[in-house]
């Protein structure tokens, strides 16, 4: 069953978060294993399954990125991670510099810390911008059902994943260097 169907919604990228939460609470009251703890084992097991499915659905639908990925998959798009290794062209120069700085930090060059922290701030800002861009595309697909919009969203999602990896990498190295300094 489709996550949207479970919540009685049609497949759309934009969602009313407070309505989603309300429905989630209502469905939880009905299906949570607490309601079945004195029932026969088969009914209990079924409640665990139903409830798990409901929770999984809510987790995906309430998060704009996870929701977009889910819709892409449902619409037949391949959203594998095979493209995350390709540097988005507009980031090429920056990533080159970043890798140098990361390498220096690994060799104990503490003075690149400032530079990395700045880069981290920049990537975080970029991430926020990407999130805004994705969400701005939501109503466009909802209204037009134009597959080109989904294609664009997929491109932005890939870029986002790349930026996220960079953020993770920088945070990890900064934390490691911080630990070593102590």
């Amino acid at each position: 069953m489709d996550y949207f169907q479970l919540f009685g919604l049609e497949r759309r990228l934009s969602i009313d978060a407070s309505q989603l939460q309300k429905t989630f609470y209502e469905l939880s009251r009905e299906h949570h294993p607490d309601r079945f703890s004195l029932k026969p084992p088969q009914e209990q097991a079924r409640a665990q399954q139903t409830s798990a499915f409901l929770n999984d659905a809510y987790r995906v639908l309430r998060d704009p990125i996870a929701r977009a990925e889910f819709v892409l998959k449902q619409e037949g798009f391949d959203i594998g991670e095979q493209r995350t290794k390709d540097v988005p062209p507009e980031l090429l120069e920056e990533v080159f510099e970043l890798n140098m700085a990361l390498e220096e930090l690994r060799h104990g060059e503490e003075n690149v810390r400032r530079q990395l922290e700045e880069a981290l701030g920049k990537f975080l800002a970029m991430n926020r911008q990407i999130d805004a861009e994705i969400e701005s595309l939501f109503p466009r697909w909802d209204d037009s059902r134009d597959r080109d919009v989904l294609l664009r969203i997929r491109g932005v999602l890939n870029r986002r994943r790349y930026v996220q990896n960079l953020i993770g990498e920088v945070e990890k190295e900064l934390a490691r260097a911080g630990q070593a300094a102590i």
């Binding site: 609470y25 939880s28 009251r29 949570h32 294993p33 607490d34 703890s37 004195l38 665990q48 399954q49 409830s51 798990a52 499915f53 929770n55 999984d56 809510y58 987790r59």
Partner: protein, 617 residues
């Protein structure tokens, strides 16, 4: 007509589900009264049962306060803080065991075994003794048998620790209907009358574990947004700081290292705890030890104490920050912080929490009792007695499987609402491969070696096919107790696949069952012994009566044959008397009863006649 009176009273007398807080230091049991949750006191009138178990010479146990007293006299066979060993392997606790006086038995690889003189016991078996004591207290108080319970666990407990707690419940004869996270249970008790909507944090710093949970309360729904913690951080660690100072002092003053002297260490620990508790209310307190006439005194100021524990307090703040970040709630939107656990009485902890959360900590509830009260509320929810309330809890740790190169591939992320599930398809690597081994881990790190091994699941009986042709869909389900189960189907045939579980730590299902059987056998043995004792007492009575009757006139009224039959029955009873078969003794008792029937009748009649004669005179 009779149909109308055909009422099954049994089904209306529903037995109570109790709520149990199985703590590191103290445990409590509570139930849902008509007015709300209530703690059930023990026979001694105390609400708290110290989580201490002592093994006696005859293999029996002392639990709670009596065991606490034995901690001084027989420290090597009296166990405390066993919760810290639940679900652990030996290598996890080697550091910790330095502070414990008990001995580890050999063959403690997958599960620790403690050598307690008359017995060797695993942590779940020891915890089961505490649970059994709480069960007895509840049964005595409620006047009915208690077989079902909700038991609380630290929110940050992993799968093995949860399973160990559940095993302990089963070993104590309790069906564990639900494991509830301690901070969540506290929020239930708190939210029952204090607040129905808003965002709260529960800071739970107990004897051995630390938890932080952030929840959204919404018209009876208690939704946990994030949880974090440290299952190895508690009041015990604070005690150990003070212990270290005192032991060093004593070594210098007395010229003797008492750290290997179980009795002295326990007395000192008691003195240290008293000083620590005092320091929450006064600016200075004294550690006061009197050991066999030798005295040690040391004043500790609050300032010194706060310096000593500063890093421990700091260690609780990291998980708090992480939980706030994971909850995606700005810290200003957290309305209140509820303080739970005895250690939150320490002023330095309160002020650190207040600074971090920018909110006044809520300390109006008894931090020792609120978790048990919440467990009773959850028990009420499960039984249907409490309507309109629902707990939506999360899994504290991410779940993943081992992939190529010792890397963990994450399937279920931490702070996912439970029940939670994930599906993954596996295939074979070589032609004709019949089974696939899946290694499941818990933790937030990338490499297998940095995560906690949870279990290995062996998918067996796969149809032999060319490599990569088999497709096995494996479903991982974390249930509402936070415990993992795994099922698998062959995608090609739709056939359910067999999964063999090899837990990395803890008891296997077979071991738990064997232990339960053993305890039944033990109970049966006890039952037999009691029956035997009672049968012998009855035999004593009838043999004495027969002996007395032989002196009676009525004995002479019996035929020679009848007298021989009585003598024969007496001999048989005497023969069976010293055997251990109570059923045989009972049979021989009946025989003698039969044989002396006539004698008894005659005696009655004689007595009756003489009585009648008496009235005539």
């Amino acid at each position: 007509m009779s149909q109308a009176f055909d009422i099954d009273f049994g089904s209306h007398r529903q037995s109570k589900i109790v709520g149990i807080d199985l703590g590191t230091t103290n445990s409590l049991v509570a139930f849902m009264d008509l007015t709300g949750p209530r703690i059930i006191p023990g026979a001694d009138g105390e609400n708290l049962v110290p989580s201490v178990v002592s093994c006696l010479e005859n293999g029996d146990f002392a639990v709670g306060h009596p065991a606490l007293r034995l901690l001084i006299d027989r420290p090597e066979r009296t166990v405390y803080s066993v919760k810290r060993l639940l679900g652990k392997g030996l290598e996890d606790v080697s550091q910790e065991l330095k502070f414990f006086p008990f001995r580890i038995a050999p063959e403690s690889d997958h599960i620790i075994r403690l050598d307690l003189g008359a017995r060797r016991m695993t942590p779940p078996e020891i915890s089961a003794q505490v649970l059994a004591e709480l069960k007895r207290n509840a049964e005595a108080f409620l006047g009915q048998s208690v077989t079902q319970a909700v038991i609380t666990v630290p929110a940050y407990f992993n799968d093995a620790q949860r399973q160990a707690t559940k095993d302990a419940g089963r070993l104590a004869g309790l069906e564990v209907l639900r494991l509830v996270n301690e901070p969540t249970a506290a929020s239930l008790a708190y939210g029952l009358d204090k607040r129905t909507n808003g965002v709260i944090a529960v800071y739970d710093f107990g004897g051995g574990t630390f938890d932080i949970s952030i929840l959204r309360l919404h018209d009876g729904i208690f939704e946990v947004l994030a949880t974090n913690g440290d299952t190895h951080l508690g009041g015990d660690d604070i005690d150990n700081r003070l212990m270290a100072i005192a032991l060093e002092d004593i070594a210098a003053e007395w010229g003797e290292d008492i750290s290997r002297n179980g009795e002295a260490v326990q007395l000192l620990r008691r003195a240290v705890i008293a000083a620590k508790e005092h320091l929450s209310f006064v600016p200075a307190a004294t550690i006061d030890l009197d050991y066999r006439g030798r005295k040690y005194q040391r004043e500790i100021t609050r300032a010194l104490f706060e310096r000593l524990i500063q890093d421990i307090v700091e260690r609780t703040l990291g998980p708090c920050r992480q939980a706030i970040a994971d909850s995606r709630i700005p810290v200003e939107e957290i309305d209140e912080v509820v303080m739970v656990g005895g250690s939150t009485r320490i002023p330095a902890i309160r002020s650190a929490v207040q600074t971090l959360f920018r909110a006044q900590p809520h300390t109006g509830i008894n931090p020792d009792e609120v978790v048990a009260l919440g467990a009773a509320v959850q028990a009420g929810i499960l039984s249907g007695d409490v309507a309109g309330k629902l707990l939506l809890d999360v899994t504290p740790l991410s779940l993943g499987i081992e992939t190529m190169g010792g890397v963990v591939s994450r399937l279920i992320h931490r702070n996912s609402t439970i029940p939670a599930s994930a599906t993954e398809t596996f295939t074979t690597a070589v032609d004709g491969q019949r089974n696939v081994l899946i290694h499941v881990l818990q933790g937030e790190r990338e490499l297998v070696k940095d995560c906690r091994s949870l279990a290995r699941f062996d998918l067996t009986g796969i149809d032999p096919l060319p490599a990569g042709a088999a497709r096995i869909e494996v479903r991982f389900l974390i249930d509402a107790n936070g415990i993992l189960s795994v099922s698998a189907t062959d995608v090609r045939t739709g056939k359910e696949q067999t999964v063999e579980v090899k837990p990395s730590y803890g008891l296997t299902e077979e071991q738990v069952e064997a232990m339960i059987r053993e305890s039944f056998e033990k109970a049966e043995e006890d039952f037999r012994e009691r029956q035997l004792r009672e049968a012998r007492l009855e035999a004593d009575a009838i043999l004495a009566a027969t002996e007395k009757a032989r002196a009676h006139d009525a004995w002479l009224d019996l035929s020679g044959e009848e007298r021989a039959a009585v003598q024969d029955a007496v001999n048989h009873l005497l023969l069976s008397y010293h055997g251990d078969d109570y059923l045989l003794i009972r049979a021989k008792l009946d025989n003698l009863n039969q044989a002396t029937m006539k004698l008894a009748e005659t005696m009655m009649n004689t007595a009756f006649r003489s009585a009648l004669r008496g009235t005539k005179i």
